[in-house]
Symmetry: C2
Subunit: 194 residues, 2 copies
């Protein structure tokens, strides 16, 4: 049922998917869907969780490996935003609808902390390996990279035609790597190929 | 009536303000508010437009002056986010509710383009004055700064306690200025005081 909901959100965007649509797609009744997900919000949160679980493979590897090469791989995320803007929209819509919902709020806080924490670890790993310089605020930089990641996805879905999200992502990551690389470390401003 | 709605959104956040509340605040009927704003969405868009008009004084000056000193003043925006998170929420909620509404979509596209365009102009002015180096993609950089601005405001309202938005804003602007300043140009990593 989650797989069907994931498909539908990807195809139509989050605002156009109802519990009834999901029932229809899996060939069951609206009541059966209602039994699994009490509300449309619960359904959307389950879809986001499932989607995040898949997306985290790339991030987990990046955060685990750490260092400059791992950070360079972040540029691949630009392709995902371009290919599947409806999942960026899903997070955006759910976040807006749930400002007073503690359970959803917790999910989003944990989501931001996972990304900020992972980026900070990846940078510190690079510092220990002598790839990344010292002397800057690692936690602030991690928050700045996170802000870019969410902000650029949002600009893309609001205004896809005046922004080449893949190129801007690659440019951002290239600038970041050039800025934090230890002087003398081998710097390649081009992102790793996907 | 817009002034009253602006106050209410600032106090309670966008999801807790109805047309009826606005009528009550100005001492008129729900019907009178309905006469001015056909829907709650129209009311919220009018509030955002009014709010943006005020906020643009700082941005207009920054974009007009251009150069490194003007870009450094962007750090002041961190204080605004911290002081009035409900207006960040307002933009976020309206954007999410209006993904299929062309009129609201146009407003947000124009809003992003105003900021990206203004930032690109400010950078080019700095290049002409010999404060900012050449050899980077100015339009991509403007999109990256815009992404940071919206992304950090969002992280702050979802997770205010684990993020010092004023410090992160100042750090971002300091890093930006240090990165794009022409070698030999006088670089001050601390932001201008408010």
């Amino acid at each position: 049922m989650i797989a069907a909901a994931l498909e539908l959100v990807g195809e139509r965007g989050p605002n156009a998917v109802t519990l009834g649509d999901v029932g229809q797609r899996v060939g069951t009744s609206h009541a059966a869907v209602l039994y699994h997900f009490r509300t449309r919000r619960d359904l959307l949160l389950a879809v986001l969780e499932e989607r995040d679980r898949k997306a985290r493979t790339l991030l987990d590897r990046c955060f685990l490996d750490g260092g400059l090469a791992a950070l360079r791989r972040l540029a691949d995320l630009g392709h995902g935003i371009q290919r599947e803007p409806n999942f960026t929209k899903l997070a955006h819509v759910l976040q807006a609808e749930s400002l007073e919902d503690d359970r959803v709020g917790r999910y989003f806080r944990a989501r931001y902390q996972y990304i900020r924490g992972g980026l900070a670890r990846a940078i510190r790993t690079g510092q220990q390996r002598g790839e990344i310089r010292e002397g800057f605020d690692v936690d602030a930089r991690a928050a700045e990279i996170t802000a870019f990641m969410f902000g650029i996805a949002q600009q893309h879905f609001i205004d896809p035609d005046s922004l080449d999200v893949v190129a801007v992502y690659a440019d951002f990551v290239g600038n970041l790597v050039a800025d934090i690389a230890l002087d003398g470390a081998e710097v390649d401003r081009t992102p790793a190929s996907p």
